[in-house]
C-alpha cells in the first residue's frame, strides 16, 4: 500500500484515488507492476534472456527485438458488429437513441457477475478485476483473430499511464499457474507499459535464433491461427474503459463476411475517415 502524496492517508491497493482526498494515486495495476519485488523479478528474467542470447550467439537479434518491442501497441480484435457499434457509439446522433436511458450502460444486475468475474481474475487483480479492459500486445497492428477479424489499435497516449502487460492471456495464466483466490501469482510476469519490452524479451528471448529476422518478430510476439486454444500473446491490461478517440487505426479485410457485414464495414470506414482514423487493409 502507498500513502497519498497530498494528505498522507493510506491508499488501498485496489483503489485508483485516495479515498480521503480524492487525489489520483495511479492505477492499481500499474502500482502493482511497479512494486520493487515485481520490478526486480522482471529485471532478473530480462537479464537472463540476454545472457541466454549471448550464449546462443543471437544477442544482436535480441537487441533488435528488444528495440522493436518498445514500439508495440495494444490491439483489440472485434467482429464487424462490435466495430460498427463502437464507431457509431462515439456520436450523439446514435447514442441519443441507442443509449436512450441514462445510466443504463452498466446494470446493477451485473453485480453477481462481477463477483464471479473477480474470481476469474482471482489473485491477479483482486477487487479491481471489474475495471480491467483487455487487449493484446502487437507489433504490426494485427491481433488474435479468434476474437474477431478486425483489430482496433489503441493510441499510446490513451493507455500508457494505466496499462500493464501480462505474460499470457490471463485465462491461460491463471490455469497454468493454478491461481486460486488467496494464492499470489509468480513475480516477474507482469510489467508496466514502459517495461513491456522487458516482459516480452523475458518471455520470448529463448525462441530467437541466429536466423530470426525482423519480419519474424510480429508472429513471434503474437501467434494466432484462429483458435483460442493455440493463440499465444502478451495480454495488455488497461485500467478502466475508453472511447472512440482512443483508437488510432483499424486493420482488417474489406472482402470478407456477408453482404450485410460489408455494408456495415463501409459505414464503419466512413465513420473512421470522418474522425481522422486510419483504415488499414490487411
Amino acid at each position: 500500500m502507498i500513502n497519498c502524496k497530498i494528505c498522507g492517508s493510506t491508499v488501498p491497493d485496489s483503489e485508483a484515488v485516495c479515498l480521503t482526498c480524492g487525489t489520483p494515486a495511479g492505477t492499481p495495476n500499474v502500482r502493482s507492476a511497479d512494486r520493487p519485488e515485481e520490478l526486480q523479478a522482471l529485471e532478473e528474467r530480462y537479464r537472463a534472456a540476454y545472457e541466454t542470447a549471448r550464449d546462443g550467439n543471437y544477442l544482436s537479434i535480441l537487441e533488435e527485438f528488444d528495440k522493436a518491442l518498445k514500439q508495440t501497441h495494444a490491439v483489440i480484435n472485434v467482429d464487424v458488429e462490435f466495430l460498427h457499434f463502437f464507431t457509431r457509439n462515439a456520436r450523439n446522433l446514435y447514442t441519443t437513441y441507442e443509449r436512450a436511458v441514462e445510466g443504463q450502460m452498466r446494470k446493477p444486475a451485473l453485480l453477481e457477475f462481477d463477483q464471479k468475474r473477480r474470481a476469474v481474475g482471482g489473485g491477479l487483480f483482486g477487487s479491481y478485476a471489474r475495471e480491467i479492459s483487455y487487449a493484446a500486445l502487437s507489433l504490426d497492428g494485427s491481433g488474435p483473430q479468434s476474437y474477431g477479424s478486425y483489430a482496433m489499435k489503441l493510441r499510446d497516449i490513451a493507455i500508457r499511464n494505466r496499462a500493464t502487460v501480462l505474460e499470457n492471456n490471463s485465462y491461460d495464466f491463471v490455469q497454468k499457474n493454478d491461481l486460486k483466490p488467496g494464492k499470489n501469482p509468480p513475480l516477474g510476469y507482469v510489467a508496466s507499459w514502459d517495461n513491456r519490452h522487458k516482459l516480452a524479451v523475458a518471455k520470448l528471448g529463448e525462441f530467437l535464433t541466429p536466423t530470426t529476422t525482423v519480419d519474424d518478430f510480429p508472429k513471434l510476439l503474437l501467434s494466432s491461427a484462429g483458435s483460442r486454444a493455440t493463440d499465444e500473446f502478451i495480454e495488455v491490461l488497461i485500467y478502466g474503459t475508453f472511447d472512440f478517440n482512443a483508437i488510432e487505426s483499424v486493420k482488417g479485410s474489406s472482402t470478407i463476411g456477408s453482404r450485410d457485414d460489408r455494408d456495415l464495414l463501409r459505414m464503419v470506414k466512413q465513420h473512421l475517415s470522418r474522425a481522422g482514423k486510419e483504415w488499414i487493409e490487411g
Binding site: N89, S133, N169
Partner: protein, 797 residues
C-alpha cells in the same frame, strides 16, 4: 443448467454462466458457444452496450438464441434507421441503411422497438431527417419514411414529453436505479412515443387512453407498481402544458365574439362572414317587405330542398353556391332566427350524408348570427358527435343543458354521446333523469332502452321498450328497437313477427323493412332477405341502408360480382355513402383483390378522415397482405371508448396474431373479450381469442371461450364458432363430437366455411377413412390452409 445470461442485441452476443463457467454465444455462430476469455468479457461489458439480464430455472440455450436473434434484429434496425439520418455517411450507405431497416420492419416487434425509441427522444441537431425521409420515399421504404415523418411531425411533442419526464421523474422514484428501470420500461413499451403522438394529434382522449392501455399491461404492472399514478400524473402535466384544441365551447364562444367584430370576421376571407356580420346589424339594413312572410318561407323551403338534394348527391361545390344565395335571400327577406334554422336544417342533411365539413361550416355561420338558440347549440353538438369529436360534443351539450335546462333534445343528445363513448352508466343516469323530468319524451325512453341493450341487459331493455310502446303506441322507433333486442337475444321468430306487424301498421317505415331483412339474413334465409331488400329499394329508391344491406347479403352468399355491382350502384347514387364504400372494399378484400380494396379504403379515408370503419378495414387488408407491421402504426394511439375504437383494438390484436406474437395477441384479445363495453360485440373478440388458442395448440381452452349453446348469434357468428370448436374437438381426438359439430354446417353458403369444414374433416380423418391417411407434407399443407382460412373468418367476424 444455465444460471444467468446477458444478452446484447447491439453487439450480437450473449454471455451466460453454466456450471460456474462463462460462455459466449455469437450471432454468426449460434451453434458453437465458446468458453469466455477475459477479452470477451471486457468488450461485452465495458463499452456502453445495452445489456439485458436473464436468470431463472427455465433458462435454456434455445431461449437465449431466440432472444439474441430478436434483440439483434431490433438494434440493427434501429442503427440502420439512425444511419439513414447520418449525413456523415455517403448517399449509397444511407440508402443501404434505409433499405435494410425497411426490410427488418416487416417484423412488427422490430418496428415497434424502433418507433418507441425514435419518438421518445428529441431529434439531435445533426440528424438530417428531411433528406432521410426523401430517400425513404424515393426507395418506397414506406415504413421507414412514415417513421421519419412521424419523428418530424412529433418533434415539439417529443421534446415536451421528454422535458416533462425529466422534471417529474424524481418525484416518482426513491432511487436513481428505480428511475432508470421505470424509464426503460415506459420507453420500451412505447408509452412516451404514444404520448408524443397523441399530443401531436391534439387528441386529449387518446392521451387519456394511454392510461387505460398501459395501465393494464402485465409487464408494467408487475415491474412498476405505481405505473397508473405515473401515467396519470404525466397526462395531467402534459395536458396543462400542451395547447389542445378548445373544447368546442371555447370555439363556440370565440365564434360568438368574432361575430360581433366585423373587421375581424371580414379578414378571414369568407365573404359570407361579412354578409352575416352586416345581417347582425339589422337596424342598419332593414328587411325588405317586397315578399310576405309566407311567400318568403315558401321560397326558402324550395331553396333548402334544392340544396339538400345537391348535398345528398355529393355536389358540395354547387350546394355551397346555392347556400350563399339562400343566405342572401334570408338577409334580404327574413330574420336572423329564420336563417339560423335554415342553416341547422341543412347542417343535419350534411351530417346524414357525411359532408361533415359543410355541416360544420353551416353551424359556424349560424353561430355567427349572434342568436342564442338551443337548436343551433344542439346542431353544433350533433355535428361534433358525427365527426367523432366526442369531447367537444359533450362540452357543447353540457353548456346547452345549463343554459336551456328544459331542453329535452340536448339531454338525449348528451346521453347519446356518453353511450357512443362507452360511458354506459353515465348515459343511463342522464336518460333516467330526463325521463323523470320529461315523462313524455319518447326519445329518452328509446335511448335508455338502447343503452340497456348495448350492455347486454336484454330483459331490462325489452321492459323499457314495452313501457315506451304502451305509452306511445305509434312510436315506430320503440317497436323497431324492441324487435332488434329480440334479434340480439336470438329470438329471431319473435323479432320477425314484431317487424312484420310494424310494417303492416306503418307501411312507409323503411327501418322496419331493413330490420326485417336483417333478421332473415341472420337466420340464413338469404333469398327471403334479398326479396325484402329488393322490394324496399323499389319503394324507397333513396334508401341507402337497403342498398348496402342487399349487397351485403349477396356477398355473404358468395355472389361477389353481384355484390360489387350493387355497391357500385349505391356509390354512384350516393357518393357520400361511406357504408357502401366500405362494403365495396370488403367485397374486394373477400375476393383477394387486396390492392383494389386498399385503394378504395384509402380514398374513403382521404374523403372521410373520421371514418373508423374504413381505417380498420384498410388495416385489415394490410394485415392480409402480410404488411402487418404497418397495422399498429396505422391504428395506434386510438382511444378505447367508441365502438370503432374497440374494432381497431381487435384489428391490432389480430395483427399480433398474424405476425406470430401469439401471447401478445392473446393478452389483447382476452382484454377485449372481457372488457368491451358493447357486450354484443364481444363475439368477435371471442372468435379471435379462440383462434389464437388454436394457434397455441390450447385446444381445450377453445371450448371454454366458445360455448356453442349460446343464444343471440346470427348464422355467420354461429358458423365461425362451429368451425373453431369442431377444429379443436378434432385436434383433441374427440372425433365423434367434432363430426357432429361440423355436421351443423351443412347449410352453410359461405365458400370459406365449406372449404374449412372439408379441410378439417380431411386433416383429422373425421370420416375415418384410414386408407386416406395423410403424409406429413399433406398434413402441413392442410394445417396451413386451415389456419389461413380460419384467420380470414375470425377477421371477418
Amino acid at each position: 443448467m444455465i444460471q444467468q445470461a446477458y444478452v446484447s442485441g447491439q453487439l450480437g452476443r450473449v454471455i451466460y454462466t453454466k456450471d460456474d463457467r462463462y460462455f459466449l454465444l455469437q450471432i454468426e455462430r449460434l451453434e458453437e458457444p465458446v468458453e469466455c476469455r477475459p477479452m470477451d468479457l471486457s468488450t461485452f461489458f465495458n463499452y456502453g452496450a445495452e445489456i439485458t439480464t436473464f436468470s431463472g430455472a427455465q433458462l435454456d440455450l434455445a431461449q437465449l438464441k431466440n432472444q439474441l436473434i430478436t434483440q439483434r434484429q431490433a438494434y440493427r434496425a434501429l442503427a440502420m434507421v439512425i444511419s439513414g439520418l447520418d449525413e456523415e455517411l455517403d448517399q449509397e450507405s444511407r440508402q443501404t441503411a434505409i433499405e435494410a431497416a425497411e426490410s427488418l420492419f416487416r417484423d412488427a416487434p422490430t418496428l415497434r422497438f424502433v418507433r418507441a425509441r425514435m419518438l421518445s427522444r428529441p431529434l439531435p441537431a445533426e440528424a438530417d431527417i428531411e433528406v432521410a425521409r426523401d430517400i425513404a420515399i424515393r426507395l418506397e421504404a414506406t415504413s421507414v419514411g412514415f417513421l421519419y415523418q412521424n419523428a418530424l411531425d412529433c418533434g415539439q411533442a417529443i421534446c415536451l414529453v421528454y422535458e416533462t419526464w425529466l422534471e417529474a421523474a424524481p418525484e416518482y422514484f426513491a432511487s436513481q436505479e428505480e428511475r432508470v428501470e421505470g424509464e426503460r420500461l415506459l420507453l420500451e413499451l412505447g408509452v412516451f412515443a404514444d404520448m408524443a403522438q397523441a399530443l401531436t394529434r391534439r387528441d386529449a382522449t387518446a392521451l387519456s387512453s394511454i392510461i387505460i392501455t398501459y395501465g393494464q399491461h402485465p409487464e408494467l404492472n408487475s415491474k412498476l407498481k405505481q405505473s397508473v399514478l405515473i401515467l396519470n400524473d404525466l397526462r395531467t402535466r402534459l395536458s396543462n402544458k400542451w395547447d389542445f384544441p378548445s373544447t368546442g365551447r371555447e370555439d363556440h364562444k370565440r365564434k360568438r365574439r368574432a361575430s360581433g367584430d366585423t373587421e375581424h370576421v371580414a379578414d378571414d376571407g369568407d365573404p359570407v362572414h361579412e354578409i352575416l356580420a352586416r345581417f347582425r346589424q339589422r337596424r342598419e339594413h332593414p328587411r325588405s317587405r317586397t315578399l310576405s312572410a309566407d311567400e318568403a318561407k315558401e321560397k326558402v323551403d324550395h331553396q333548402i330542398e334544392a340544396i339538400g338534394k345537391l348535398i345528398r348527391h355529393g355536389n358540395i361545390g354547387r350546394a355551397d353556391r346555392f347556400l350563399r344565395d339562400l343566405i342572401n335571400f334570408h338577409v334580404e327577406h327574413s330574420e336572423r332566427e329564420h336563417l339560423g334554422m335554415s342553416l341547422c336544417a341543412l347542417s343535419k342533411v350534411a351530417i346524414d350524408t357525411s359532408a361533415f365539413q359543410l355541416a360544420e361550416q353551416m353551424v359556424n355561420y349560424a353561430l355567427m348570427l349572434g342568436i342564442d338558440d338551443v337548436v343551433i347549440s344542439n346542431t353544433q353538438a350533433e355535428t361534433f358527435k358525427a365527426m367523432g369529436r366526442f369531447d367537444n360534443a359533450l362540452a357543447v351539450y353540457r353548456e346547452t343543458i345549463e343554459r336551456f335546462p328544459n331542453n329535452e333534445v340536448a339531454r338525449s343528445g348528451y346521453a347519446e354521446v356518453l353511450k357512443a363513448t362507452g360511458r354506459f352508466d353515465d348515459a343511463l343516469a342522464v336518460y333516467r333523469e330526463t325521463i323523470e323530468r320529461f315523462p313524455n319524451d319518447e326519445v329518452a325512453r328509446n335511448g335508455y332502452a338502447e343503452v340497456l341493450k348495448a350492455t347486454g341487459r336484454f330483459d331490462d331493455a325489452l321492459a323499457a321498450y314495452e313501457e315506451a310502446m304502451a305509452r306511445f303506441p305509434n312510436n315506430e322507433v320503440a317497436r323497431n328497437g324492441y324487435a332488434d333486442v329480440l334479434k340480439a337475444m336470438g329470438r329471431f321468430d319473435d323479432a320477425l313477427a314484431v317487424y312484420q306487424e310494424t310494417i303492416e301498421r306503418f307501411p312507409n317505415n323503411e327501418v322496419a323493412r331493413n330490420g326485417y331483412a336483417e333478421v332473415l339474413k341472420a337466420t340464413g334465409r338469404f333469398d327471403d332477405a334479398l326479396a325484402v331488400y329488393r322490394e324496399t329499394i323499389e319503394r324507397f329508391p333513396n334508401n341507402e341502408v337497403a342498398r348496402s344491406g342487399y349487397a351485403e347479403v349477396l356477398k355473404a352468399t358468395g355472389r361477389f360480382d353481384d355484390a360489387l355491382a350493387a355497391y357500385e350502384e349505391a356509390m354512384a347514387r350516393f357518393p357520400n355513402d361511406e357504408v357502401a364504400r366500405n362494403g365495396y372494399a370488403e367485397v374486394l378484400k373477400a375476393t383477394g383483390r387486396f390492392d383494389d380494396a386498399l385503394a378504395v379504403y384509402r380514398e374513403t379515408i382521404e374523403r372521410f378522415p373520421n371514418n373508423e370503419v374504413a381505417r380498420s378495414g384498410y388495416a385489415s387488408v394490410l394485415m392480409l397482405m402480410n404488411r402487418f407491421a404497418e397495422v399498429p402504426a396505422l391504428l395506434s394511439g386510438t382511444r378505447l371508448s367508441s365502438k370503432g375504437d374497440w374494432i381497431a383494438y381487435h384489428i391490432v390484436a389480430m395483427s399480433y396474431l398474424r405476425s406470430g406474437e401469439i401471447d401478445e395477441a392473446i393478452r389483447r384479445l382476452d382484454y377485449g373479450f372481457h372488457n368491451n363495453p358493447w357486450i354484443t360485440d364481444r363475439f368477435y373478440f371471442a372468435s379471435a381469442l379462440a383462434l389464437a388458442k388454436i394457434k397455441k395448440r390450447q385446444f381445450d381452452e377453445v371450448l371454454e371461450v366458445l360455448p356453442t349453446n349460446v343464444t343471440g348469434l346470427d348464422v355467420f357468428q354461429k358458423q365461425t364458432r362451429l368451425v373453431l370448436v369442431g377444429h379443436s374437438q378434432a385436434a383433441l381426438g374427440m372425433k365423434e363430437e367434432a363430426a357432429e359439430t361440423l355436421a351443423q354446417l351443412e347449410q352453410a353458403a359461405n365458400p370459406r366455411v365449406i372449404n374449412l369444414k372439408e379441410a378439417i374433416t380431411r386433416r383429422y380423418d373425421l370420416k375415418r377413412q384410414s386408407s386416406a391417411s395423410l403424409s406429413p407434407d399433406e398434413e402441413e399443407l392442410l394445417e396451413a390452409k386451415i389456419q389461413e382460412e380460419e384467420f380470414f373468418l375470425a377477421l371477418a367476424a
